[in-house]
């Protein structure tokens, strides 16, 4: 049994220690908002917050996150930044297929938590680990600026 702190709740999981956090979230805790895209931390669809930092849960064994605070897309709107990012995403109709967008939102929230007024270059740096095959990038960039404005 492994005990994890997920979205403010302590959860006991009967999974092997090498299980990536992604699959523990999705298959064991039924938190399916976090997506599988590549399994090698290349696409960012699985991005969650670990102690506030954006991490790729597909390449992170559960054994490495014991005792840490894990936040997923399901509760990211509990914070002011999460709310602002989701509102900006909705205002600009960022999404297309939507599969990568949980990860995009999580990376954007992490960025804006640390940097309330990111430049385009800051956005490129923080978001270039998140692939969007629909290429919604023009709107992702605009929505991050929009969220920054609403948080100012």
């Amino acid at each position: 049994m492994i005990q994890l702190n997920v979205n403010g709740k302590l959860q006991k999981l009967d999974v092997a220690p090498d299980t990536p956090l992604l699959w523990a979230l999705r298959d064991t805790l039924q938190l399916t908002g976090t997506k599988y895209g590549c399994g090698q931390a290349l696409c960012g669809a699985c991005t969650v917050h670990v102690d506030g930092t954006a991490m790729r849960s597909c390449a992170l064994p559960v054994s490495a996150v014991v005792g840490k605070k894990i936040t997923t897309i399901e509760t990211v709107d509990a914070g002011r930044v999460g709310k602002a990012v989701q509102a900006a995403w909705q205002k600009l109709d960022v999404v297309q297929c939507g599969y990568c967008q949980s990860g995009q939102v999580m990376s954007a929230v992490a960025l804006l938590t640390q940097n309330r007024k990111p430049t385009d270059a800051d956005i490129d740096n923080a978001m270039s680990g998140n692939l969007c095959r629909c290429a919604t990038y023009v709107r992702i960039r605009a929505a991050i600026h929009e969220a920054a404005k609403s948080l100012a």
């Binding site: 999974v15 092997a16 299980t19 990536p20 699959w23 999705r26 298959d27 064991t28 039924q30 938190l31 399916t32 908002g33 976090t34 997506k35 599988y36 895209g37 590549c38 399994g39 090698q40 290349l42 696409c43 669809a45 997923t72 897309i73 399901e74 709107d77 989701q86 995403w89 909705q90 109709d93 960022v94 999404v95 297309q96 297929c97 939507g98 599969y99 990568c100 967008q101 949980s102 939102v105 956005i123 490129d124 740096n125 978001m127 270039s128 998140n130 692939l131 969007c132 095959r133 629909c134 290429a135 919604t136 990038y137 023009v138 709107r139 992702i140 960039r141």
Partner: protein, 737 residues
Amino acid sequence: MNEIAIEDLSRRRFLQGGAGLTLGFCLPGIAAAAAAAGPGKAGEGLAAPVSFEPNAFLRIGADNSVTVISKHLEMGQGTYTGLATMLAEELDADWAQVRVEGAPADAKRYNNLFWGPAQGTGGSTAMANSWEQMRKAGAAGRAMLVAAAAKRWQVPAAEIEVSQGVVRHAASKRSAHFGALAEAAAQETVPTEVALKKPENFRLIGKQARRKDTLEKTNGKAKFTQDIQLPGMLVAVVAHPPLFGAKVASFDATRARAVKGVVDVVQIPQGVAVLATDTWSAKKGRDALQVSWDESAAFKLGSDEILARYKEMAKKPGLTARKDGDAAAALGKAAKVVKASYDFPFLAHAAMEPMNCVIRLSSDGCEVWNGEQLHTGDQYALAQLFGLKPEQVNIHMLYAGGSFGRRACKDSDYVLEAAQIVKAIGGKAPVKLVWLREDDMRAGYYRPLYHHALEAGLDEAGNIVGWQHRLVGQSIITGSPFEKMMVKDGVDATSVEGASNLPYAIPNLTVDLHTPTDIGVPVLWWRSVGSSHTAFSTEAFLDEVAAAAGKDPYELRMSLLTAHPRHAGVLKLAAEKAGWGSPLKAGKAGERRGRGIAVHESFRSVVAQVAEVTVARDGSLKVDRVVCAVDCGTAINPDNIRSQVEGGIGFALSAVLHGEITLKDGKVEQGNFDGYAPLRINEMPAVEVHIVPSAAAPTGIGEPGVPPLAPAVANAIAAATGKYLHRLPLRSSDLVT
């Protein structure tokens, strides 16, 4: 304005615990869907079974909710929103109360009107084929609500107005929400003829109706196939052969079975499937499998060898796809002849959600959960495998996490793989087939590798007098159920589309095609299909010809397009908005900048793009800005058109900068996003999209934004460096000074 008391029957009904109210005409299919769909899908909240009738696209709830049933897959292209916009427009619904559900598989009611008796999504046809159908469905609903109100209030129907989900009779100051009238409306006769609005009265079409799927795709609640979990369900990960055409010789599952969570290991025609209680255990089990493969019938050529063969084939004429005048004679007499050839690699679709499918067998049929793009084809394929009737295959169409053509597999490949696993375990548990990224990338069904050879002849004045275009590449359609419809005299229309319908006024023009049949790599339509390569070769070559003729690329195009006003219209608009002809701001020291233009028709829409690029000294390329003009007929949802074109530009740029699947000795060399890299945000240009106002019926928009990008970029590179690109993807070494 006087206070108008609005009947709120719906609320009362709800308080009484009454059943939902439904419009009778809209119910065909819904009862079946309700039975099939399970919680949260089509048919939710339905009161009672209802007899079948046509036009199964609308349900109005007692709570005033307006549910639009989408016969098409939502894979990102905005279909749900577009179909709902059309219906809600004629219904005069309140957009805030409109929601969308996926239709069940039923080709009788939900066929794609452009595809005859088949249900499916593709070819950028969703809006175009539904344009009258969805509006008529909305108008019929509106007429029945009005008729019901007229009876209830004892007033002439002609005096009743409908707006934003409220039915009103101004003179008697009466009004009612849709929900309050739904039960009575259901008793009305379905009108056979309905009048549709004039465009000047549109309230939603052409305006900024918000996407219906944004909220749940922003908060993680949207359900994709990957998210389906059924009681007792097993997850299957499959060991696939390393070569196309290889088969399992033997396997040892001892170590796989020892992995905790692994429940079963079964051989299927596609490989060996490991079934486990969860995905990670299934993957570990698959990795622990020992399989030896029989490669005796496998395809073993590399992509370099395939290309070399194609170049050899291109030396001789192929089958004629178009012949105007006598191109060979014109080239023979020309004052100047320009020649160029172009190479295009295999491309993977690489949707963010790798292919997957959930199947459950029951006593009376099977249920499928899938981002379903070819309902009818998959239904028949599964029925055949399981020995069922097609109507016993119930498909729940979920959101697809991208597709770009991949989920519309003509051979139902991954769907049948899931079914074979279910069959192999005797249907004892529902199965979710999960392809890991590497499985997805190496499974084939690529955009085919192509080689094009072009020649153009100029007269003394620089006029193009002859054009010869030869293409070599695999057919997507041959051998598929679409062959009869789309292959004529050996020429697959999708191989030459974009080349054989070249719009330019050239008197002598030949397009011919070689279709190799001995290449064992599965190929498939990839967003924009043939135009994904023909737009490049035709439009990049035309710039080379313009240079040889000493003409401006924009002016030359305009002079050859007098018979094609839509092409000329978008070219002019894009050129104007991009400031064609004005000097570009200089780059930094050592940087070269250029602007390029291209226009292309696909899926009955015409798109022109002007790209601005910067080429650094080391040959690295940055596409700074793309200005785009689109003519897609009536713009149903302008914001979605912009969104699709922005995305299409990013998708196309991936293929310019990075996209390439290569084979070595038959083995696919790429497996994940390190080897096959889609565009990232730091590579995305600024995009401007301008829509040509049009009252014509809508044409496609999911794909047409893709084709012009690569040639526009190539032409911009040529303007900056004088170097013409003859192969994709771009190698920086091609641009080093």
